[in-house]
Symmetry: C2
């Protein structure tokens, strides 16, 4: 999913500024399947405005740049609908941990137990973050996505705990 679609989608949930979009992508339920920096979000919003998919109104502020609040237009809704009709692309899961396991086997076998231990802690952290998000009582798809993430983290942690000994002996 490109950043323009991501912005369109986030704006479908409500008006927002570029700064707010960045925050949602960095911290909210989006953070588990997407990333984006200011350097890509701001230009995307400008382009989407030029294309007529969103509009922008400015809110004057003292001591800092004007807030630019973006809203979806009817054309933008159509565009997003069109995108949603297409089948989502397969997931991209990139795990340095799994790669490290494969390579450590030959190169430094004594590192493996260590990698697994670190990983279990990693999952514990991820679970904590997701539980915090859940405690804010999200509803609908948002809740579903967070619970999905939680389930995946728990399944991964469980698998590690039950099977890691097969790696070290």
């Amino acid at each position: 999913m490109d950043i323009k679609t991501l912005c369109l989608g986030i704006l479908s949930l409500g008006d927002a500024t570029g700064y707010e979009i960045k925050k949602m992508v960095a911290e909210g339920s989006f953070s588990f399947f997407s990333e984006a920096s200011f350097g890509s979000i701001y230009p995307a919003l400008t382009k989407l405005t030029d294309e007529g998919f969103i509009t922008c109104r400015s809110e004057t502020q003292s001591n800092r740049p004007d807030k630019k609040i973006y809203s979806l237009t009817k054309l933008g809704v159509k565009e997003l609908e069109g995108t949603l009709e297409k089948s989502p692309k397969p997931d991209k899961n990139r795990s340095e941990f799994l790669a490290a396991l494969l390579f450590a086997e030959a190169i430094s076998p004594n590192r493996i137990q260590n990698l697994v231990d670190e990983r279990i802690e990693y999952h514990a952290n991820q679970i904590k973050v997701l539980e915090d998000l859940l405690s804010e009582k999200p509803t609908g798809a948002s809740k579903f996505v967070i619970e999905y993430g939680l389930e995946m983290q728990r399944a991964a942690a469980k698998f590690l705990q039950e099977n890691s000994k097969s790696l070290t002996d």
Copy 2:
């Protein structure tokens, strides 16, 4: 993980040509956490050779370009060891499916059931692919990684089946 490290790691499992590395990354147990195209693999191998981390011997073939078989050097082993000492970076999981769910809720709610159905089929396919890999009787970390992937796919499919109704009502 950058492509140079990926090549180094794959070569730690045994000598290989660029073409073979590409195949492993596209089809083997690597395909579930990494990607790379010829356009990045060939230049990476050239660079690694220049840096002394791998060596290259050519095998003449009739009717097609010489096979260039790469091997890790001692320096390359050290380099890989150094990389493995560092903690792996957090996973990157990008799922257009999850994003589509969040956005479809507002824009085309009647698409949701459809998305979920497609997704269940997607998992079924992934499971088939992984089971095929398992049927080749891998061992060690390779087996572990494939079983890990299987477990994740099954957990995802199960979650969907048990919770998707909360999305549509």
